[in-house]
C-alpha cells in the first residue's frame, strides 16, 4: 500500500511547505511532487526518487531531502520526515497508515551552503513542534 503524504501545519495555521512550493518555478515544483509520488510508492529502504531523494546526516539525521536544481542553477530543497509504526501508534497520531511528512523547503544559490542555524530555524524547530503534538497537526 502506498504511503500517504502530509504537510506540517503550524499552530497559527500556516503551511510552510505549501508556501515554499508556491514560490517554486512550475518545473521545480513538478519535479519535487514527482519525487514525492515515487517515494510514497516505494518508501525507504527501497531505492526510489531517481537520485533526488536523499537521507540526511549529522544534526539532520532522521530527515530526508528532495534536491532539485532550478533556473540559474538555484538549488531547491524540500525537507521531510517519515512517520511509521504500529497501526495503534499511527492511529494515535491521526494516521490510517505510514506517512511522508513534508516539513518545509528552502532555496539557495548554487555553491552556497545552508547553515546549521538555517536548518534549526526553518526545519528542526518546526519538526520538533510537529512531533510534540498528538494527534499530529497537518494541513487539511
Amino acid at each position: 500500500m502506498p504511503w500517504g503524504v502530509v504537510y506540517y501545519r503550524s499552530a497559527d495555521g500556516r503551511v510552510p511547505a505549501d508556501e515554499f512550493l508556491d514560490r517554486c518555478p512550475d518545473k521545480v515544483e513538478a519535479t519535487i511532487l514527482a519525487v514525492l509520488e515515487a517515494v510514497r510508492r516505494a518508501p525507504p529502504p527501497a531505492f526510489s526518487g531517481g537520485g533526488k531523494w536523499e537521507a540526511m546526516h549529522g544534526t539532520m539525521g532522521g530527515y530526508y531531502e528532495i534536491r532539485v536544481t532550478g533556473p540559474g542553477r538555484r538549488q531547491y530543497r524540500l525537507f521531510c520526515r517519515l512517520e511509521n509504526g504500529t497501526p495503534g501508534e499511527l492511529a494515535a497520531r491521526g494516521f490510517p497508515g505510514p506517512q511522508i511528512v513534508v516539513v518545509n523547503g528552502m532555496a539557495k544559490p548554487s555553491g552556497k551552503l545552508f547553515s546549521d542555524a538555517d536548518y534549526r530555524r526553518h526545519v528542526r524547530r518546526l519538526a520538533d513542534e510537529y512531533l510534540s503534538t498528538l494527534p499530529r497537526r497537518i494541513a487539511v
Partner: protein
Amino acid sequence: MHDTGHHDRRLQRRLRESPEFRAEFARQQREIAAIDAVINTLDELRTERNLTKARLAREIGKNEASIRRLLTAPVNPELRTVVALADALDADVRIVPRKRSAARRKTQVA
C-alpha cells in the same frame, strides 16, 4: 482520523491548472522510473548472484562505500559505474526507443 488528502488535492489542482507543470511532472515521472529501475535491477541481479556489495565493488575496482551508497541510498550514479556494475553482473545496459505515437509522427511530418 485525519483527512490526509491535502497533498493529493494540491497535485491534482496543479495538474489541472498548469500545462507546463503537467508536462514536467510526466517527464520527471518517466525519468525517475527509469533511474529507479536501473538501480533496482542491478541490486536484484547482485542478490541473485549471491554477491556482497563489497565483492561487487572489488570486481569493478570501486571502493565498497560508494557501491553500498549507490545501491541503498539514492545518489546520482555515474553512467560508467552503472555500465561497469552491469558488466560485472553479466548484464547489458540498453536504450530502447519507444514506439513513436501517431501524434509525434504527425508533428515531425508537418
